[in-house]
Symmetry: C2
Subunit: 311 residues, 2 copies
C-alpha cells in the first residue's frame, strides 16, 4: 500500500469521521520525561478508531455489493463501527455476536442500526454464522483488522496526528488484531520525518511480540488481560507490514496497564479503554529510551463499562 | 466591569491558561433536542476553570504585594488553582485548609507549590487562620469567587466559547460561589449576540435560586449534594451581576445530576465533576425551552475521586 492510497482513503472517509483532538499534559510529560501527544480516538464517532477502517471498507465496495450489505463477527468496537458506518451510508449491516456478549453491546449495535445475529460463543460458530449470512444475503464479509481497506482507514489517525505535529520522533499504538498498528506504521513511514512506530502489548497476550521473533503468526493460549480489545491475533495482511515498519513491541504487565489507565483518567481527564493505557504504559516502561523525545500515543477508544472499573 | 476589562484580563492570563477544546456529540444533541457545545474546562491547567480567576487575581497585584504572597481558604479547586498560578508567577501561596480535608487534596496543593496551613473545620477557624497569615506574612487575601478580578478571569471561558461559536442562543454554567456564573454572564453580555445565560443549581443547595427571588443573598441550611463544588453561597460582588445578567436559575435533583454525569462520561468520554453535570442536567430538565437552539455548557472541572464514583 502506498502513500497515495492513504491520502485517497483519508479524503474518502473525512465526511464520516471526526478529526479528533490531540491532548497534552505537562504533568504526564514530567512523569515520562518526554513530550507526549495523545491522539484522542476515544472522541471518534462511536467512541473508537475502528470507525475509520469500517467507513473506508464500506466506501470501497461497488454499488451492488453495498446494497446487499456487510457482515462481520465481533462483540467489540468493530461491531458498532461497522453498524454506524453502514447506517451513515444506507448499507445493511449484519453483526454476528456470541450469545454470551453483554446486552449493552448488543443494544449499542442495534442503536446504530446493525442487525444482531446471535451464535454460540466459539470461533467456529461465529465463522459459520457469518458464512451463512454471506451466502443467504450476498453480504460482503469484512474482517475487523486483517483487511487492507481497514488497515488504510485505521492509519488515518496517525496521519492526522502527524499533520498537526509533523516532527514526532515516535508513535505508540496498542497491538490487538494488528489493523491499527499496521496502519499507524504505514502513515508514520509515508508522512513522518524518521518517525518510528512502537507497539504496546500486554504480557498476557503477547502473540505479536512472539510473532516478530519467530517470523510467523503466533497465537495466545490464554487471554487473561484487562485490555479486552487486544485478545485477538495478527493476520496475513497486516503481519508483513508490522514486520517491515514497526520498530519494536514493548510488553507491559496488567498492573502497569491499570496504573497507566488511572493516570490517563486522573490527569488527562478522559474516559478511555484499558487498550489505550497499554500504549501509554509501554512508553513509561521504556522511558529512558524516549527521554526528551516527541512521542505520539494513539488513544484507541473510550467504550468502557463505568460500573466495572479497575480502580 | 466593562468589555475592555474582560478583553484585557483575557490577554493578561493567556500565557498561563489553556484555550480548552469545545466538544460536541450528535447523540447528546439528540437527547437534548438542541445543538450542544461543551466548553471543557476539565482540560484546563490543574483541571478546572478556577485557574483563570486565580491567575488574573495574582497578575493584578502590584509587585510588592506579589512578593509577600497570597492567601486563601479553600479545600477545593481554588486552593490548587491559586497554588499553581502563584507558582507559575513565582509568588508564595498560603492555603488554609480544614484538618479534615482529604489527604489527596492537601498533597495536590503541595504538588503545585502551595503551603498548607491546617485549621479546625469551621468557617470561623478558617477565617481566623487566613487573617493571621495576612497579618504575619503581609500576604493578600484572595476570595475564590467574590472578587472582581476572579470574576473577570472566570468569564474568559465563556469568551473563548463565543469566539469559537459566536451564535450561541444560551450558555449554561453551574452556580456555586457565583464567580463562574457572574463572569459567564458578563462575557455573554459583551461578546454574545443576544446570548442568554442560565445557571444550574442543585435543589439541595438552591441558595442562588432563592436569592434571586428574595433580592438578598440567601444561605443554605443543609448541603446534602454530590456537587461538592456548589455548596458555597453568593457574595456582594457577584450577586448584583447575577441579578442583572442571568436569565434564570434551573434547579435539579441529585438523581438528575448523577444521570447527567453518567451521560457525559459515557457519551462525551470525559472525566468531569458532578458540578458540570448540574449545568447539563439543567438543560435536559427544561429541554422544551431550548429546543433546536445552540446551547453552550461550561464543563467546570474534572477533579474527581475515581475510587468514589456514583455509578
Amino acid at each position: 500500500m502506498d502513500k497515495q492510497q492513504l491520502q485517497d482513503c483519508h479524503e474518502r472517509i473525512k465526511p464520516f469521521i471526526h478529526n479528533t483532538p490531540v491532548l497534552t499534559s505537562r504533568l504526564l510529560d514530567g512523569i515520562a520525561s518526554a513530550q507526549l501527544f495523545f491522539k484522542c480516538e476515544n472522541f471518534q464517532r462511536m467512541g473508537a478508531f475502528k470507525m475509520r477502517g469500517a467507513a473506508n471498507a464500506i466506501l470501497q465496495l461497488p454499488e451492488d455489493a453495498r446494497k446487499k450489505g456487510v457482515v462481520t463477527h465481533s462483540s467489540g468496537n468493530f461491531a458498532q463501527a461497522l453498524s454506524l458506518a453502514a447506517q451513515s451510508l444506507g448499507v445493511p449491516a449484519f453483526i454476528v455476536m456470541p450469545s454470551s456478549a453483554p446486552k449493552v453491546k448488543k443494544e449499542a449495535v442495534k442503536g446504530y442500526g446493525g442487525e444482531v445475529i446471535e451464535c454460540e460463543p466459539t470461533l467456529e460458530a461465529r465463522e459459520l454464522a457469518s458464512e451463512k449470512i454471506r451466502q443467504e444475503k450476498g453480504a460482503t464479509f469484512l474482517h475487523p483488522s486483517n483487511d487492507n481497506e481497514v488497515i488504510l482507514g485505521q492509519g488515518t489517525a496517525c496521519k492526522e496526528l502527524l499533520e498537526e505535529y509533523p516532527n514526532l520522533d515516535a508513535v505508540f499504538a496498542p497491538v490487538g488484531g494488528g489493523g491499527l498498528i499496521a496502519g499507524t506504521a504505514l502513515s508514520a513511514h509515508y508522512f513522518g520525518k524518521d518517525c518510528k512506530v512502537y507497539g504496546g502489548e500486554p504480557f498476557e497476550v503477547d502473540d505479536a511480540y512472539r510473532s516478530l521473533i519467530s517470523g510467523k503468526i503466533e497465537t495466545n493460549n490464554t487471554i487473561n488481560t484487562i485490555a479486552d480489545g487486544l485478545k485477538t491475533q495478527l493476520g496475513d495482511k497486516n503481519f508483513p507490514i508490522i514486520q517491515k515498519h514497526v520498530e519494536q513491541i514493548i510488553r507491559v504487565t496488567e498492573e502497569e496497564i491499570v496504573q497507566a489507565m488511572k493516570l490517563l483518567w486522573e490527569r488527562l481527564k478522559i474516559v478511555c479503554e484499558p487498550s489505550c493505557a497499554v500504549a501509554f504504559a509501554a512508553v513509561l516502561k521504556e522511558k529512558e529510551q524516549f527521554a526528551n523525545q516527541k512521542v505520539g500515543i494513539i488513544i484507541s477508544g473510550g467504550n468502557v463499562d463505568l460500573g466495572n472499573l479497575p480502580f
